[in-house]
Subunit: 95 residues, 5 copies
């Protein structure tokens, strides 16, 4: 999984029917030190994440292993809201 | 999913039989600020997208989770036409 | 899918038994402007492509969605020979 | 598979229910010479790895081929703790 | 598939039980001109490759399509030992 910050939302009214009702989040990718990498991904929200929150997302076929995304053309899903992580014994981020 | 602009079409008459009837779109990839990244991908169109439109596409096995692409050798599918997205509270793109 | 030019062939007599009889093509990857990117991939040929031809290939699990490659340890397959594509209204390549 | 050093842990109390009870490790990726590449990944621990240990992890759908991660939205799993590897006849790393 | 040179072996005694008995090879990735790219991957050996040999490996879910790796957390498998390949009509490598 990778870390990201939810920085926006996306609306697409014309889409594959199985994607109806999904909430699309625009994520800015973070490195392990909690700095933005410059990369982004649009992910389906499976956990009720809001703009500004730091999340974990899963990619590829693993993005379809939630009830919301099963069998859908979804290759990225927010599957956790991060509380905290530490590196080398120091806390890098706390919600 | 990633964002892209439909910039062209591709014709391939000799192909895996299961790909008959598919419409191939040449997509230029966009970053979250709506700038072209220099990358591209050829994707099957599942939503009736036209040249000039901004779309979302799914990659990998998720690209086979539409009726049109199921069980086919397709690793990228346009699964939504984007209406609008915003970042940090500002609208980046509106159709 | 991505674009590539068939630039060579590869022979491997000792291989996973399920790969017997496959034709391996060495592909140089192309960008959307038909220039070589410097990247390459070895792909199984599912459409009878020859050296010098411009093709589309599918990667990952989608590379196993042809009769020839089904259930085999193959992560790239040539699934179409390209006739032509255009970008921004201009023809980039014609066979 | 790729090599990495376990450098931290991550806590996420709000997550996809199927991820309950998983231990999330923050891995710094290593190259074949045992130097950090600058990349990272968050992986589920399937083997009881601890901070400071050098491990192998599997990505993508292969990350779901452990009892712990089966059918879960997990795209990276620590599936081995490395004892030693050698390159060109010289030992690069020993636990 | 990609090309690589087998440059070493790796031992991991503590691992996911389904990986027992697998032989792990450290591969240095090659480009189409048979030069090392600087990248590496650890792959399971499905064909009896030895250090110094040039091989092809498959990645992702395709790495699980051998008898040895089926349903295992393995994302890279050596599935062929390369005899020779040519590019633009010239032989690049012969075993």
């Amino acid at each position: 999984m990778n870390l990201a910050k939810v920085t926006g939302t996306l609306v697409a009214s014309r889409k594959e029917p199985s994607m109806e009702g999904m909430k699309f989040l625009v994520l800015r990718q973070l490195d392990a030190a909690n700095s933005e990498t410059g990369g982004y991904v649009v992910a389906v929200d499976a956990v009720g994440a809001g703009v500004g929150e730091v999340v974990m997302y899963a990619s590829g076929s693993s993005a379809r292993q939630t009830e919301m995304t099963k069998d859908r053309p979804c290759d990225a899903v927010v599957m956790a809201i991060v509380d905290t992580w530490e590196l080398d014994g120091e806390t890098v981020y706390t919600k």
